[in-house]
């Protein structure tokens, strides 16, 4: 039976925990709104980018001079995984889901005899992956997403990936991040970044042309290859940026939910503890009274 003093200190510690979690919940809720807006407003760019690239890629893919970012290196031996996670914890199962997803993919790839490298974006991915795959992690980006995710921060990550690709350090690059669906639902998503997956829509275009409906024939300025050479790296940056904003929104959503649960649990616990405290106190008073009375009777 815990003493009154123990109970009192537990009650006060649970109380302060509840204060912290409810404050974190409110912070996450206000950031969530902004992050969600950011995630949603980064979608139009990515969509139009896809449309433009689809138009271009359809006409260039398969040609011998196609850029490497589009056509790949012709091999699939070496894989680079870019794992996007949050920098801070206390956001429920968000990061462990991502890490589990990454581990499954790593195991699959290794079972196929592929080489795997990992680039961590966010401290938590590194923390969770380093136990099993310490040797595969080549670098971690930590210093981002303090308030919001800026395009510059995403550009740094993307530039690193592009430099590595130019340096011929990997063949295929896959991005793993949490796609934001709602505050309570975030979906771990894998997306192939390099080579650019040519959408099936590009082939439809050709089918349209064959069907007598002429697809728009574009003029290119400066040239098809010139535009692609600029557009493809920009696409990589955009996709990384989108992954990071989506993940950031997911993080805030997950944290809000987790902290809401924690606050509620703390409230329940506080109720139980207070009840126990009052009972114990009453029991002690009764015990003391009995002692006094029986002492008086004995005289």
């Amino acid at each position: 039976m815990p003493s009154l003093k123990d109970l009192r200190s537990r009650i006060s510690s649970v109380k302060s925990t509840r204060k912290i979690t409810s404050a974190m919940k409110m912070v996450a809720a206000s950031r969530l709104r902004k992050a969600q807006e950011a995630a949603e407003s980064s979608r139009p760019f990515a969509e139009r980018m896809d449309r433009m690239l689809g138009t271009l890629a359809g006409s260039v893919v398969g040609l011998p001079g196609a850029p490497r970012l589009l056509a790949g290196t012709g091999e699939t031996q070496r894989h680079l995984l870019v794992v996007v996670s949050s920098n801070r914890g206390l956001c429920g199962g968000l990061n462990s889901n991502i890490a589990r997803n990454a581990r499954v993919l790593i195991r699959e790839l290794q079972a196929d005899g592929k080489d795997v490298q990992i680039l961590c974006v966010g401290r938590k991915a590194r923390d969770l992956l380093k136990r099993d795959h310490q040797k595969l992690i080549i670098d971690t980006f930590e210093d981002w997403g303090r308030r919001t995710v800026s395009y510059g921060e995403a550009e740094q990550v993307a530039q690193r990936v592009l430099d590595m690709f130019d340096d011929d350090q990997f063949d295929v690059c896959t991005l793993i991040y949490n796609r934001f669906r709602s505050a309570i639902s975030q979906i771990p998503t894998r997306q192939q970044l390099i080579p650019f997956p040519v959408p099936s829509g590009a082939n439809d275009n050709e089918a349209d042309t064959a069907g007598g409906e002429p697809a728009a024939i574009y003029e290119f300025e400066p040239s098809e290859e010139g535009i692609l050479a600029d557009l493809l790296p920009l696409n990589v940056k955009t996709q990384v940026f989108r992954a990071m904003t989506e993940n950031y929104a997911s993080e805030q959503g997950a944290r809000m939910t987790a902290m809401d649960n924690a606050t509620r649990n703390a409230g329940d616990m506080l109720g139980d503890l207070t009840l126990q405290y009052n009972r114990t106190r009453q029991a002690m008073i009764t015990k003391e009274l009995i002692e006094i009375i029986s002492g008086a009777e004995a005289l």
Partner: protein, 134 residues
């Protein structure tokens, strides 16, 4: 009302403009080009500079873009810019300040990547200063 074309200006973090316009002049890599309705389809690289939206023979809105891509079809003109904002928001001092800090960055840049990045920022800032003072 005259025929219009759908103009959209998108930067990575938001959709800046989406409206029907009579004419828009875009700074292409190989020279400015005006887009009117029923323009031939084309794709072009955009250099840092100013996009002018024209209405009734007058420039209605001036927007600054820090480079990107433009897609033009018969009834649509889409510009993807790495950075974009309306020129009204920029004071000449701010533009000059940006150019100065960009030049400082070039001087301080450590590795080649930082330098290339800073030099790009300088050319963007130069275009901005030119645009503001015009």
């Amino acid at each position: 009302m005259a025929e219009t074309t759908e103009f959209e200006l998108v930067s990575p973090d938001r959709l800046l403009v989406s409206e029907a316009v009579e004419m828009v002049v875009v700074p292409g890599l190989e020279g400015d080009f005006g887009v009117l309705p029923r323009h031939a389809p084309m794709l072009s690289t955009v250099r840092p500079g100013v996009i002018d939206i024209h209405e009734g023979g007058q420039v209605k809105t001036r927007l600054f873009v820090a480079g990107g891509f433009a897609e033009v079809t018969e009834d649509r003109c889409t510009v993807l810019a790495e950075e974009a904002f309306t020129l009204d928001d920029v004071a000449p001092d701010a533009a000059n300040e940006r150019l100065r800090s960009a030049r400082d960055d070039v001087a301080e840049a450590g590795d080649a990547f930082a330098k290339a990045r800073a030099e790009k920022a300088v050319s963007v800032a130069e275009a901005l200063v030119a645009a503001v003072s015009r």
